[in-house]
């Protein structure tokens, strides 16, 4: 008498969940530290010098966190309204920030009071940055202008009014002190040279531009706006190179991994996607709890900091190599396996008489019901276990088995509304 053959649950290959070098690399982070801020986190910037503190701009404050502390090491609160875009200078000594009240403030990282206040914009300033010679500041504002300021004298040097909508992003070149790039809600990206009074290059993104990123070589410019990430070749006069559409909501932030091999994009759809910069394919994907507004990577990818619209700041630190090793070592030591196999690896001697004991076959509940040909019950059980355990493959396997037995109709017949709705819920993936 053969025993009952349980229903085979087919193993479906998990698409996109293949374990590659990238998944290993990007999964090698600890459980995130979550910090509640006062409002939506609009900008995160890492200090370029050790110990790589980072400035988090949220509502009317800028907090500076140390790399491992969960309390801010420094707080700037002298804003009359929402602060924007707190950024470090390349020596990590100064910090600049825009504000809803159109005043740009410059802070000493060790001080509290603003060193300089740059007044001149007529609307909120969303973008501030230092030029590479460290003496000038770039700002971009909702009054459609972008300006260059002199730090020592606190005077405006130039003003460009070429954009026709809010300027929401901009970067300065790290190699040339005169070059800077801006993106605006008028769908354009513009390249300015401080030595001329007009933009030298203009590119059409096609969507309101939310974020800009410059490759370290500064040959390529990456822009994000709408659901698109576009890469532009600056050396070919602003020719579009690739257009990526992997998010299903507006992309808000871009970042580059420390070796320049991976590009990260964060979006309102709660995902951070990692692209390879060689073939621009998505190689990894992070999932967060809320819409992401800002994203930054520590040097050497030591931590990933993400700011969300629900004012949560999530910090993921990379696992130390020793630590990860320790974990596996613990796992190896954990179960006293010998207890379980006790007596089972006993080799009988030559004249021992073996009394064979029939091993009782353990069947899942739905299999027991299938064995008894109670098909409706089996379907119910399978639906219940798969919804509870989030294993839809069980229900699918049982439904296929019922179909094979030719009894799917019988199993579905005579159901009331509640049972039917459960079934429909399962089928529609609710």
């Amino acid at each position: 008498m053969a025993s009952f053959k349980p229903t085979k649950i087919p193993v479906y290959p998990k698409l996109g969940e293949k374990i590659t070098e990238d998944t290993l690399y990007w999964k090698n982070y600890k459980v995130p530290v979550q910090i509640k801020e006062f409002g939506a986190v609009s900008n995160i910037d890492f200090s370029p010098v050790a110990p790589y503190n980072f400035a988090v701009t949220a509502f009317t404050r800028i907090h500076i966190y140390g790399s491992f502390s969960q309390e801010p090491v420094k707080t700037f609160t002298r804003f009359k309204d929402t602060a924007y875009c707190g950024r470090f200078r390349s020596d990590g000594q100064l910090l600049v920030a825009g504000c809803e009240d159109s005043v740009v403030r410059l802070f000493d990282v060790s001080g509290k009071v603003a060193l300089r206040m740059f007044k001149g914009h007529t609307k909120a300033v969303h973008i501030t940055d230092f030029t590479s010679d460290r003496y000038q500041i770039l700002t971009g504002s909702d009054d459609y202008t972008c300006r260059l300021w002199d730090i020592p004298n606190a005077v405006e040097l130039t003003s460009y009014q070429e954009h026709t909508d809010y300027i929401r992003c901009g970067v300065t070149s790290k190699l040339n002190r005169d070059l800077f790039f801006t993106g605006a809600y008028d769908h354009t990206l513009k390249v300015f040279d401080a030595r001329t009074d007009k933009s030298v290059m203009s590119m059409d993104h096609g969507q309101p531009v939310e974020s800009l990123l410059l490759y370290p070589s500064e040959g390529l410019l990456v822009s994000a706006g709408g659901r698109y990430v576009k890469v532009w070749d600056l050396l070919k006069g602003g020719q579009p190179l690739v257009s990526l559409k992997n998010h299903h909501k507006t992309i808000t932030c871009l970042a580059l991994s420390s070796n320049g091999q991976r590009l990260l994009s964060a979006s309102l759809d709660r995902h951070v996607k990692v692209y390879s910069t060689t073939n621009y394919k998505v190689v990894h994907n992070f999932d967060y709890a809320a819409a992401i507004l800002s994203l930054a990577l520590a040097p050497k990818d030591e931590s990933i900091v993400v700011g969300m619209s629900n004012s949560i700041l999530s910090i993921k630190h990379r696992k130390n190599p020793e630590e990860s090793k320790e974990v596996t070592g613990q796992q190896r030591r954990r179960p006293s396996y010998r207890v379980f196999v006790k007596g089972k690896n006993y080799i009988p001697k030559q004249d021992d008489y073996l009394v064979s004991k029939s091993v009782k076959q353990h069947l899942a509940k739905y299999d027991k019901q299938l064995k008894r040909f109670s098909v409706s019950k089996a379907l119910d059980t399978a639906l219940e276990t798969s919804t509870r355990g989030r294993k839809p493959d069980i229900a699918v396997a049982v439904i296929t088995e019922l179909d094979r037995r030719g009894t799917l109709k019988n199993a579905l017949a005579g159901r009331d509304e509640e049972q039917l709705s459960r079934l429909l819920n399962f089928l529609m993936g609710g």
Binding site: M1, K5, K371, G406
Partner: protein
């Protein structure tokens, strides 16, 4: 068969053992069943075939224990004879010639020397009518007896053997056919008939399928098409009969049977569940589910200790009365057709083909026994008619037997085809195949061929599947692409197509460097290393049916057959047609161990075989009309030991043997004369060895006896004392059956003395000496056989004693032995001198 030939076609096992109900011997040690033209005797304990009773010339249609002697068995056959056998020794005792094909045989306990058989009604050619006939078996000493004495009992019976049963103490006879049951009372020679309506309201089908009678009670149980069992009582009075209904089966009941004491009723059907009902407490049931296939027959041993069920997958299950399976005798499973090719497993040398639904069977050709069934589909089989199940349609083994590829498919009318390709690795530890890779939907349409690269090298081999979707795919074992993988698995390496044509057969060359795929009428040759299309060969018109590379010295040839009845041979070096001939080749297959090819050609309703080398113009061997109908599958199986036959016509059979399956699913083979002679010699030895069961007594006495026998044959022959068998008998017979010691004493002492007449060796005439020698051998042999069966002992000795007269032949001796019961006749011999 052709006598003058050196090579002849022989039937090679695999016959149906589920054709008729099996019989269990009185001591429950043996099970007898009809198997083709033989009756097979199996041991119920070891499941081994102990004897094959050969003699019938047509299908055996019934086996029946002789009521008056439980060590003898009747068998009837479609050749019109009833034969009586001693099944413990495997000897034919008598043949009764009836003259009409017999379909089943019955006996009743109160009719001595009468058997009842079902035969076809003569003089009525147009309609098949069967009648139950009583045959009085004449008592006479001849081996072959004509039976003159036939008397019809019932005129219109069913040909189904389960449709007739004898009632309590043989008092009446119940026969069912269609919607009527007829009960015939022997005492009054009257019969009463009971009718059922064709259909009841619920749409049940009331047709009778089988009948059984209670051994102690006037009760008849009948099975019906709709799964009901009716218990009929009080049928002696025509008007007042009653019946009760038992309903558990959901489709037709194929067998019902009462246990010998009448306490239980057994029933079985398509559900493959044995149901045991308590008689008079029918609500209590025991079930034995999942017996594997539909139950076709049921039998109960005379002591009630064992039941056995025959199943539609050519299997007999032996079940203890506590409803537990104790043994399974499995024959070659024959489905309606063999979808997979015949293959030979290189490890076990077993024939591999699809058997039970969803299984692959490994069948030992040497032992005519099923080795094991590999469950390919791994799904619970639902025994329900009209249900589409997964079928194994293709299978392929690689050269070393370490990889097996199977293709299973399931076709439903409404939905599309479900296909699975599975690859199995042979596990040395468990000695069976383990699933390695499952590829769901490997192709979009039916797979037409699957073959492994047969090169016997260490590197992993390649599998090629071709499909109706116009593509062929090459699969290779690859290291896992992801680090989480737990071992190498198979993945698609190459997808090939040729002008959108549908690929047919594919095959690898012997060294595995070339792959040939047939696309309609074009044979394409691909390099297996780079998957480049090297060349195309074609000989239109006619699609290519079969394709194979030559082996060994003929490896430069590619052979093909096409629909246009042509056999083609291309030379691969010149890429041109070497030769072609007009033949309707149905099957072309190469011998893996030589360069020979076998071609089965269909002509005028029968099949001819040609064996040839691809480079030679003359066929090595040809035989017309190998079998009637077409040959569907064939395979070359390597021999265990090479034959050294020097005759040219049989040389091709030296290394491997050719097996083939006919249209009617008979497994046939070719055997050479040398082989047969060898087999005969081996058989003789076997019979002697088999006759003696290995009991403790045999261990003690058998060893002791053999040197004795040897010394008896040696040069210094001392004549045995006169009457030595009698003395032996005296010493061996149990004390309580002997006369008083005082009565025997003087005679015994006297017998020990050397008589004056035969005092010296020289005075004995030489022929008498040889005679006594023979006698000695014979009696020795008999005592050996006797040891295991003490009740035969005295008879055997009696026979041995009687053999003193040279007039009696061996057969007569045996006859005597059977007839005479325990007596002390030998004492007379002791008293005489």
């Amino acid at each position: 068969m052709v006598e003058h030939r050196d090579v002849r076609v022989v039937y090679r096992g695999g016959s149906r053992i589920n054709f008729r109900e099996p019989v269990i011997s009185n001591d429950s040690r043996f099970l007898l069943c009809a198997a083709g033209e033989f009756v097979k005797v199996f041991s119920t304990v070891t499941e081994e075939c102990v004897h094959e009773l050969r003699g019938h010339t047509d299908q055996v249609t019934g086996v029946l224990l002789r009521p008056s002697n439980h060590l003898q068995v009747y068998s009837c056959s479609a050749d019109g004879t009833i034969r009586l056998w001693d099944f413990t020794d495997g000897i034919l005792i008598k043949t009764y010639v009836v003259g009409y094909p017999i379909f089943s045989i019955y006996a009743s306990p109160n009719h001595n020397d009468v058997v009842f058989v079902v035969t076809c009604v003569q003089n009525d050619k147009r309609a098949e009518m069967f009648q139950l006939v009583a045959v009085r078996l004449p008592r006479c000493a001849d081996q072959r007896v004509d039976v003159p004495d036939l008397s019809a009992v019932l005129s219109d019976v069913s040909s189904n053997p389960a449709a007739v049963a004898f009632g309590r103490a043989g008092g009446f006879l119940a026969s069912v056919k269609g919607l009527q049951m007829e009960i015939y009372f022997f005492k009054t020679s009257k019969s009463s008939r009971f009718f059922l309506k064709e259909d009841n309201k619920k749409g049940g089908r009331n047709t009778f399928t089988c009948v059984a009678c209670h051994p102690k009670d006037d009760c008849v149980a009948t099975g019906h098409e709709d799964g009901k069992i009716r218990l009929w009582r009080n049928f002696n009075h025509k008007k007042e009969y009653t019946y009760s209904i038992l309903h558990w089966h959901h489709s037709a009941v194929s067998a019902v049977r009462f246990t010998p004491e009448g306490t239980n009723l057994l029933s079985g059907g398509v559900e493959s569940v044995l149901v045991q009902w308590r008689y008079n407490q029918e609500s209590q049931k025991d079930f034995l589910p999942r017996l594997g296939a539909a139950i076709t027959h049921l039998a109960v041993s005379p002591d009630g200790a064992l039941f056995c069920t025959s199943h539609s997958d050519n299997k007999i299950t032996i079940i203890q009365s506590c409803v537990r399976v104790s043994a399974v005798i499995q024959g070659l499973v024959k489905g309606e057709n063999v979808r997979t090719d015949l293959m030979v497993d290189p490890r076990s040398k077993a024939l591999v083909l699809n058997g039970k639904p969803g299984h692959l069977q490994f069948y030992s050709l040497q032992r005519d026994k099923l080795l094991f069934n590999l469950d390919v589909v791994q799904q619970e089989f639902i025994h329900q008619s009209g249900l589409e199940q997964f079928q194994v349609v293709r299978a392929a083994l690689d050269a070393s037997g370490s990889w097996l590829a199977t293709v299973e498919e399931r076709k439903r009318d409404a939905a599309d085809l479900e296909l699975n390709l599975k690859l199995w690795r042979f596990d040395e530890q468990t000695q069976s195949f383990e699933l390695n890779t499952t590829v769901a939907a490997p192709h979009e349409a039916r797979i037409t061929a699957a073959c492994f690269d047969q090169a016997a090298s260490s590197r992993t081999s390649t599998l090629v599947t071709s499909s109706r979707d116009g593509r062929f795919k090459a699969w290779r074992l690859a290291a896992p692409a992801h680090t989480d993988g737990d071992g190498p698995s198979w993945s698609c390496d190459f997808v090939g197509a040729y002008h959108g044509l549908v690929p047919g057969r594919c095959c690898f060359s012997a060294d595995g460097s070339l792959l040939a795929v047939a696309f309609r009428e074009v044979a394409t040759v691909w390099s297996a290393a780079s998957w480049e299309l090297l060349t195309t060969l074609s000989q239109p018109p006619g699609d290519i049916r079969d394709l194979c590379f030559g082996r060994m010295s003929g490896s430069k040839y590619l052979l093909g057959t096409n629909e246009n009845k042509m056999l083609l041979c291309w030379n691969l070096l010149s890429c041109s047609l070497e030769w072609s001939t007009s033949m309707d080749v149905r099957l072309l297959l190469p011998d893996p161990l030589s360069e020979n090819m076998a071609a089965f050609c269909f002509q005028d309703g029968s099949t001819d075989l040609f064996v040839f080398g691809p480079g030679e113009p003359r066929p090595l061997f040809s035989q017309k009309a190998v079998c009637s109908g077409s040959v569907t599958r064939a395979v070359f199986a390597p021999r265990e030991a090479e034959l050294e036959s020097c005759e040219e016509s049989s040389q091709w059979l030296n290394r491997s043997q050719l097996y083939f399956l006919t249209q009617f699913m008979d497994l046939l083979t070719f055997s050479t004369r040398a082989e047969e002679e060898k087999l005969m010699a081996a058989n003789k030895q076997l019979v002697i060895d088999d006759a003696v069961a290995m009991t403790p007594f045999h261990l003690l006495l058998g060893k002791h006896r053999r040197p004795e026998a040897a010394s008896g044959l040696s040069a210094e022959r001392t004549p045995p004392p006169h009457g030595s068998p009698a003395i032996k008998e005296l010493l061996q017979a149990p004390a309580h059956v002997l006369p008083a010691a005082s009565f025997l004493c003087s005679a015994f002492v006297k017998s020990l003395l050397v008589s004056a007449a035969g005092s010296s060796e020289e005075s004995r005439p030489p022929e008498e000496e040889t005679e006594s020698e023979k006698e000695e051998e014979e009696s020795d042999e008999e005592t050996r056989t006797r040891i295991s069966r003490p009740d035969q002992e005295s008879r055997g000795a009696r026979g041995g004693r009687e053999a003193g007269g040279p007039a009696l032949t061996k057969a007569q001796l045996r006859e005597l032995r059977r007839i005479r019961k325990l007596d002390l006749g030998w004492l007379a011999g002791l008293m005489e001198p």
